[in-house]
Symmetry: C2
Subunit: 438 residues, 2 copies
Amino acid sequence: MKQNIIQPKVLKGFRDYPPSIMQPRRDMIRRLEDCFVSFGFLPIDTPALEYSEILLGKGSEETDKQMYRFLDNGERDVALRFDLTIPLARFAAMNVSELGTPFRRYHIAPVWRAEKPQKGRFREFVQCDFDIIGTTSLLADVEVVSVIHSALQSLGVKHRIRVNNRKLLNGLLDSLSLADRSGEVLRAIDKIDKLGLDVVREELLQVTGHDQDKTQALLSFISLRENKDSAAVLAHLKNLAGNHPLQIQGIAELEYLFATLPAASEFCDLDVSIARGLDYYTGLVFETSLVDLPQIGSICSGGRYDNLASLYTKQSLPGVGASIGLDRLIAALDELGQLGNHKSAAAIYIAFAEHSAEIHHYGFALAQRLRQQSVSVETASQEGKLGAQLKYADKRNIPLAAIIGSDEVASQTVTVKNLGSGEQQQKVSIENLLLLLK
Amino acid sequence: MKQNIIQPKVLKGFRDYPPSIMQPRRDMIRRLEDCFVSFGFLPIDTPALEYSEILLGKGSEETDKQMYRFLDNGERDVALRFDLTIPLARFAAMNVSELGTPFRRYHIAPVWRAEKPQKGRFREFVQCDFDIIGTTSLLADVEVVSVIHSALQSLGVKHRIRVNNRKLLNGLLDSLSLADRSGEVLRAIDKIDKLGLDVVREELLQVTGHDQDKTQALLSFISLRENKDSAAVLAHLKNLAGNHPLQIQGIAELEYLFATLPAASEFCDLDVSIARGLDYYTGLVFETSLVDLPQIGSICSGGRYDNLASLYTKQSLPGVGASIGLDRLIAALDELGQLGNHKSAAAIYIAFAEHSAEIHHYGFALAQRLRQQSVSVETASQEGKLGAQLKYADKRNIPLAAIIGSDEVASQTVTVKNLGSGEQQQKVSIENLLLLLK
């Protein structure tokens, strides 16, 4: 029977995840989960597929175009989620009365966007979101910033969190009669890190209708970012004459944050140019950069919003939250050589010098005993010669081999070989093997 | 600005995953991963979306119909994976030369099937597969059965693994000149647990063209399942005259399995009626039932196959593997009341008797200190009155509250209240709080 071979391939913009990606991802997810749990956050998930009307029109026109949207077998108009925020809003609208508020949740899951593939950008990637919903209290703002710091600390990642408050810019825009153009202004300011001040000035001139005074007022304000002393910037802002009421409130909120956040100065800076282009933020906004690789941009961003789920419920759901770009962070740590060594899964390999059911049983029983002592063990999965077995173990970066033949079975021992050093092998009792592995 | 509310809903056959599902799922996945790692298995993942031609025609006609298949924005014919076996085959065809064999991998991920929704059956569910590929050795068979036992033990699940060898039935079919109908015969025999012997007899009569002798030969063979003594059944099979060479080989393989698998009799039975309808199994096959809930059927099944990826590569990739239906297992444990208590994420709640930046800072700093001692802490996320804060904590099943006001800040203490017992509260130093929590 002749069979045609189907060319094996993955879709453009997608990729397989071999152990070299999955081991660090698994370990990072565990550390993040442990951190979230230590702050009382609970895990949720939502379906990958949603009705398209749930997802459409809440993101930008761009995300609408990037959706994987289709008719299912029942002619339902469905799409794959492109973020975890809209599913949270839909989930909250349906479940929050049962779950109660304030509700602390985290959500680690893949999302899909048919973006133009670029180096390091894929059409499927894992996001990691955490939010406290159902509260307007600044207590929740402080807690979310603490979680970010603690999460990145637990990953051993050197970072700075740059915070700002939307009320500062919104107050300024209102006093400049630019409140109706706030989206455009915020998105222009957002570009300062990537494209520089000249591009921002050019865009602001366009938005203000070439009003030099207004453009200058905005540029003067965001130039405060150059002062790296958060307390000094706050003091300066407070002393400005003619502050808008919104600005006064924004300053007070930032003062509260810096006063209550433990060890704030060690990891947190005020940066008045942080805008976060999305319309729904209303108070605290923040971005997080890697100290050793600032050029990759923010690896954790978010802020406070007044109403999460207004599209789906009349119930007001204010909250504050953040999103870690997990795959981006993994790529960055890989670039920095900080992913750690994940090549070997097992601490010891059990090889057979001879083959019989009795010898194999001895090996399997030994493996079981070692695993009960929390030692990870790989047993040979191919008969073959001893040399080939040891070569395999060495290729898998397993440091030790326990070799078993009829001699070892008779004397209830194993022959231990250090595969890395090539040291001379030695015969030891099972008890001594256990000691050796400790 | 009036806005129309979009009715929030999830797709038919899908569901949200609140903390009551996600906490046990997370904890079970961790235990399973730890078990796989202790056997030297490495994690992989593959994209949720694949080219349809990769997925089509490898499963059954039924799975083809159940696929979520569509044209993406680039007019590519794509589909969501409906199992983890075909993605493994495609992955192996592309990556196995780099990864080397034998290759032990596990894969825990959602799959999608547009099945008719039923109680406990969803269109999105998590599967958990593990395989050793690139080896024909029985060593790998024993290892996979050991993994199943160890994995379910680590979940605290009482179970029996029922094993069989396809060669027994295939040899019998060949000697009855029924080899060309093996698929139909195997699928008929598969129904014995669910539908009973009479239905199987009826189907076998149809498949054999109402040949009473052949039907009786098959029924006599599978009636050996009634003997629960695996060693006796093996001895009986060995003593049958006129065994087919395939049967002789199957018996030898089963003898080897029972001789080498540590403590086999404690959890493993020979059941000659285990058929596993899928065509690709060639040797060992197995199913696993819950001792306390056998009627839900197998929660972990699999077997040995000669060639995993023949559709995608000319390289022969034999292997052996198993699949745990994770969501099904969670539902079963829930039914048995064995999921454990997962209601509370935090061990202690920090509440505020009064509100000021200084008092809040004291609370946040205390929370940080407790978390450094691995205590999970939720701080109040709403100002409000103390009573309301404590009521919230109690609703979240958090057992203890640490109450902070200006008195506590001044004396560097906290007031501890046991929320469950309503015991009288007591003021303690931070050091004593740490001792109390240990």
